[in-house]
Symmetry: C2
Subunit: 213 residues, 2 copies
Amino acid sequence: MDIETLSPSDIERRSMEIIESEMGDTSRLSETEKLVVKRVIHATADFDYLDNMRFSENAADIGLEALKNGAVIVTDTNMALSGISKPALKTLGCEAVCFMADEDVAAQAKASCMTRAAVSMDKAARLFGGKNVIFAVGNAPTALIRIHELIGEGKLSPSLIIGVPVGFVNVVQSKELIMSGSTPYIVAAGRKGGSTVAAAVCNALLYQLYERK
Amino acid sequence: MDIETLSPSDIERRSMEIIESEMGDTSRLSETEKLVVKRVIHATADFDYLDNMRFSENAADIGLEALKNGAVIVTDTNMALSGISKPALKTLGCEAVCFMADEDVAAQAKASCMTRAAVSMDKAARLFGGKNVIFAVGNAPTALIRIHELIGEGKLSPSLIIGVPVGFVNVVQSKELIMSGSTPYIVAAGRKGGSTVAAAVCNALLYQLYERK
């Protein structure tokens, strides 16, 4: 196999063409949902996400609306935060934050025997409880579980939950919890997911609203 | 399915037990290689990596030696950089860097029609050419291709190349290039990989040398 000489934008277009040609039947997906799934496959080269990605009704379009209206994206890892397009956020008047490395979060986690991920969701609820917030959880099921509890307690009403933690313990359950709720969600059902998937879902939405140079 | 109440360290131990029990035959792997593969599966929930992960002779142990001797890890994304354990790096006297967002790299990429990833490898060669350096490439095949060229030009002699870019264009070829060379490598053969995989390989090695609290 020879190496193809292509510009970065051509590489991405060619990649998306390959993904499209190998995806098979995508009739269950809306246009926006399909863009999300394609970008997740682009980030993982894993076509399992074609089946795994679950969207509550109009969730992807609800996400677009939230971003048009300056949403704050809260992640559960600095890695996911690092992967979300900063130029797109800036242009749209959105921001992305992660509280995992904050000292107050670490201290409260230690004192309360909660995970830092769960405590960082409490911090998000205090700061953005009634605001236009999107959660993008790529790592910690405890973050998803805490979001579900905070919604139940009336302390949070997110515009969208992107629930794509990866792993083997409590991951499937935490995603089922989110899919049982009434908050719009984009979830990677099963064990798979991760910070790259969380960032890819965010970027798929952002890139619909922002033309990259 | 009920949610299990476990501490973070218990969750990780339990996760590794599940991975171990589902991995099947691992007799082709050394002990250190197995730890690398397990951590990659832990980061992706994708057992394809059991077959995909390729190690040149003693590469995992060579990586451990490099880290014991204060290696610099160069990544091709800030996302991978963000996922590598900072406490472990600090304790071992190692550091991790990424030049992708540097202004001089952006300017040179524009001027030379190279990708920023490739140019950032040139910068690494200038700064660390003869030093103990580990490359951890989770995104850009052009980074791997440039590393291969720089080695050929005598401008780089890395201790280890972690070659795990993800994608559909030039990714497989770039990995084959690295596997055809004489520099120790850990490669995820095929299309799969990513920044989380790059970070997981680094952390698998770091955690052998550093006891987490």
